[in-house]
C-alpha cells in the first residue's frame, strides 16, 4: 500500500477522534515543550554569559594577592614578564578602592582604579571620546582620569565631559577620556569606574603595594604558557603559592561550559521523562484504539489487507500523533523561548539541533510505543476480528 495513502488514512483516523487524539498528543506536546524550552534557555543564557566573559578578554589572566603587604614586586619586574618566550604581550598592575568623586555640584561613590596604559587593551575596553592613559601619565603621575559613562551621567548629566575637571578623593583631575557604555546587563560593568594612572593612584590611595595585576597572553594559543610563566615568576618572588591566586578567563569559561552542559543534560533528562510518559500515553490510546477498531481491522483483512498494511497503518497513526504533537510543542516552545529571551534581555532561539532532537525524540517515542499495539492489531485473525462486537 502506498505511503501517502497510509498517511492520509492516519490523519483521517486521528481526525475522527479529535479530542482523544489531542489528549494523547498532550503528553508529547508537554514533553517536547519542556525539552526544547529548557535546553534552549540554558543554551541561550550560557551563550550570552560566555560572550560577555569573552568580551572581558578571553586571553586574560588575573592575579590577586592575599596579603599584599608582603609583595615586593615593582612595575619594572612586571614588565619583564612581557616577552615572546613567556607568551605574554602585556601586563598592567592595578590598585583599586571605592572613593567619593565630585563635580561642580554633584558627588557620588565610584570605583577608583589605578592602571597603566596597557590595561585597556588587556580588558578589551574602548575609549569612545578623548584618549586613553599613556605611559607618560604614569611616569609623571599626571592627574588625569578615564571615566565610565555612568560616572559622566551621574556627575554631569551628559557625556560631553572630556576636558572637564572632577575631584577624586580630594584631588582635582582632568577627564581625558570616556569609555564605551557597557550597560547594566554586562556583569562586572566598568560604567561606574574611574581609571587613573597607576602611580597617581598609589599616591592617592596611599598604597604602594601591588594587590593584583592583569596579564594578556599573546594569543589564545599561549594562554597556558602565559599562565606557567606567571606562576614561575611568582614562585621566585612570593614564598607560598597560597599567597596568590590566578584566574584565567579560559578556566572560567571551561568551568562554565561543563556546568551548563551538565545542567542541560539534567534538565533535558527530566523533560525527557515527560516525553516517555507521553509515549506511554500513546501506547495506551493505541491499544484502546486497536480493541475499539477490531471490527474495522477484521473488515480490512477480509478484503485483503496484509499484516504489513495493518501494522503500518497503526504505526503511522502513532507516528503522526507523536510528530504532530512534537511540532505543536516545538511551536509553543518557540513562542515561550522568545518571550523568556525578551524578558531576560538576551537573544535566544531554538537551534536546529534542539528542534531536530525533540522531533526525533518524539518520533522515536511514537515508533517505540506504537509498535506493540500495531503488531497486536496486525496479528488478529480475520475471522475473530470480524466477529468482534
Amino acid at each position: 500500500m502506498m505511503l501517502s495513502q497510509s498517511i492520509r488514512m492516519a490523519f483521517k483516523a486521528i481526525g475522527a477522534n479529535k479530542s482523544r487524539s489531542f489528549l494523547t498528543m498532550l503528553g508529547i506536546i508537554i514533553g517536547v515543550l519542556a525539552v526544547s524550552t529548557l535546553i534552549s534557555v540554558v543554551q541561550g543564557a550560557t551563550g550570552s554569559i560566555t560572550s560577555q566573559l569573552q568580551g572581558l578578554g578571553s586571553n586574560m589572566l588575573m592575579v590577586n594577592f592575599r596579603n599584599s603587604g608582603n609583595v615586593e614586586i615593582t612595575q619594572s619586574d612586571l614588565q619583564s614578564l612581557v616577552s615572546p618566550s613567556t607568551g605574554i604581550s602585556a601586563v598592567s598592575p592595578t590598585v583599586t578602592s571605592q572613593g567619593t568623586v565630585r563635580s561642580a555640584g554633584k558627588s557620588m561613590t565610584a570605583t577608583v582604579t589605578g592602571v597603566n596604559k596597557d590595561y585597556f587593551g588587556i580588558r578589551s575596553l574602548t575609549v569612545t571620546t578623548g584618549r586613553s592613559l599613556q605611559a607618560a601619565d604614569d611616569l609623571y603621575r599626571t592627574p588625569v582620569a578615564v571615566i565610565g559613562t555612568g560616572v559622566a551621567d551621574t556627575l554631569f548629566g551628559q557625556r560631553n565631559v572630556v576636558g572637564s575637571t572632577i575631584v577624586v578623593m580630594g584631588r582635582e583631575m582632568t577627564i581625558v577620556g570616556l569609555l564605551k557604555e557597557e550597560g547594566t546587563s554586562q556583569f562586572n560593568t566598568n560604567d561606574n569606574t574611574i581609571f587613573i594612572p597607576y602611580q597617581t593612584a598609589q599616591r592617592l590611595l596611599k598604597n604602594t603595594y601591588l594587590s593584583s595585576f592583569y596579564v594578556a597572553s599573546a594569543s589564545s594559543d599561549t594562554v597556558a604558557l602565559a599562565k606557567t610563566s606567571v606562576e614561575a615568576f611568582l614562585d621566585e618572588r612570593v614564598h607560598s603559592s597560597d599567597n596568590y591566586s590566578i584566574f584565567s578567563m579560559n578556566d572560567i569559561l571551561s568551568a562554565l561550559g561543563s556546568v551548563t552542559s551538565l545542567l542541560s543534560l539534567l534538565l533535558g533528562g527530566i523533560a525527557g521523562i515527560s516525553l516517555l510518559v507521553g509515549g506511554i500515553g500513546i501506547m495506551n490510546i493505541m491499544l484502546v484504539s486497536v480493541t475499539e477498531r477490531t471490527r474495522e481491522i477484521g473488515i480490512r483483512k477480509a478484503i485483503g489487507a496484509k499484516r504489513r498494511s495493518i501494522l503500518s497503518q497503526f504505526m503511522i497513526e502513532a507516528l503522526v500523533i507523536s510528530l504532530v504533537g512534537g511540532l505543536i510543542g516545538l511551536g509553543i516552545s518557540w513562542l515561550g523561548v522568545t518571550i523568556i529571551g525578551s524578558l531576560m534581555g538576551i537573544s535566544i532561539g531554538i537551534t536546529f539541533g534542539v528542534a531536530s532532537l525533540s522531533l526525533g525524540f518524539s518520533a522515536g517515542v511514537g515508533l517505540v510505543f506504537g509498535i506493540y499495539p500495531a503488531a497486536k492489531a496486525s496479528k488478529l485473525a480475520p475471522i475473530d476480528a470480524l466477529r468482534y462486537e
Binding site: R295, I303, G304, I383
Partner: protein, 228 residues
C-alpha cells in the same frame, strides 16, 4: 473451481465439542450460482468463512483453483481474499468513517492500484449497483439496501472470480432484497461464480443449485435444469 474434501471444523467449548462442519465435501464449478441453505446453527457461515479463506479447517483439504491453501501464510491468504474473492455480509461490514466511494476503493488500495484508475473502477462499480449519486455518502447516511449495494460494489471492484454472500438480504426488506438478488443474477450472467448462503427457500430457489446443510453435513445437493 473450488473444492472441499472432507472438511471438519470443530469448536471446543469447555467439555463440549461443537462440530460446526463435520466432513463436508463439495465442488463448485466456475460460473455456477449455488445456494447453501440450512437452519440456524447448521454451519453455513462456518462454511463460507472457510470458502472465503477467512478461516481454516481443522481437517480436510480445501482446493482453490486446484491448489491446496492449507499451508498458505496469513499474507498469502490475504492476497487470495483480495484478488479472487468478493464478500457480501449480512451486516454489510462497511467502514463507517469512509464514504461509499472510499469503501469501494479500499480493496483496490490494498492491491496497489494507482489512484486515478482506482477511483474510476470504484466509480464504475458504484454506478453498476445504481449508487452513482451516493458516492460521497457515509454508510450511516444510506439505507440498509443501499449499504448492501455499496458492499456489493466493493466486492465487484476487484473483479473477483468468486462472490460469497452470507445472508445478503437478511437485514433487508423484500423490495431491497429483490434488488440485491437482481444484482446477483446480473453478476452471474457476467460470468462470476456465486455462492449465496441463506435460510430462506425463496432466495435459494433463485440459484441453479441448492445445497442443503444440517448439523455440519450436506444432506442434499440438487441442480436445476439448464432452463433456470
Amino acid at each position: 473451481m473450488i473444492e472441499m474434501r472432507n472438511i471438519r471444523k470443530i469448536y471446543q467449548l469447555g467439555d463440549e465439542e461443537v462440530r460446526a462442519l463435520d466432513g463436508v465435501s463439495l465442488r463448485i464449478e466456475d460460473h455456477e450460482f449455488a445456494a447453501v441453505i440450512g437452519p440456524s446453527g447448521s454451519g453455513k457461515s462456518t462454511m463460507m468463512h472457510i470458502l472465503g479463506c477467512l478461516d481454516v479447517a481443522d481437517e480436510g483439504e480445501y482446493l482453490l483453483d486446484g491448489r491446496d491453501i492449507s499451508d498458505y501464510t496469513d499474507d498469502q491468504l490475504a492476497e487470495v481474499r483480495n484478488r479472487k474473492i468478493g464478500f457480501i455480509f449480512q451486516q454489510f461490514n462497511l467502514l463507517q468513517k469512509l464514504s461509499a466511494l472510499e469503501n469501494v476503493e479500499l480493496p483496490l488500495i490494498y492491491q496497489g492500484v494507482p489512484r486515478v484508475e482506482r477511483q474510476k473502477r470504484a466509480h464504475d462499480a458504484l454506478e453498476l449497483v445504481g449508487l452513482g449519486d451516493r458516492m460521497n455518502h457515509r454508510p450511516n447516511q444510506l439505507s440498509g439496501g443501499q449499504q448492501q449495494r455499496v458492499a456489493i460494489a466493493r466486492a465487484l471492484a476487484t473483479k473477483p472470480e468468486l462472490i460469497l454472500a452470507d445472508e445478503p438480504t437478511g437485514n433487508l426488506d423484500s423490495h431491497s432484497s429483490a434488488e440485491i438478488i437482481g444484482l446477483l443474477h446480473r453478476l452471474h450472467e457476467q460470468g462470476n461464480t456465486i455462492v449465496v448462503i441463506t435460510h430462506d427457500n425463496d432466495i435459494a430457489e433463485e440459484a441453479e443449485r441448492i445445497i442443503r446443510i444440517r448439523d455440519g453435513r450436506i444432506v442434499s445437493d440438487e441442480r436445476k435444469g439448464a432452463s433456470a
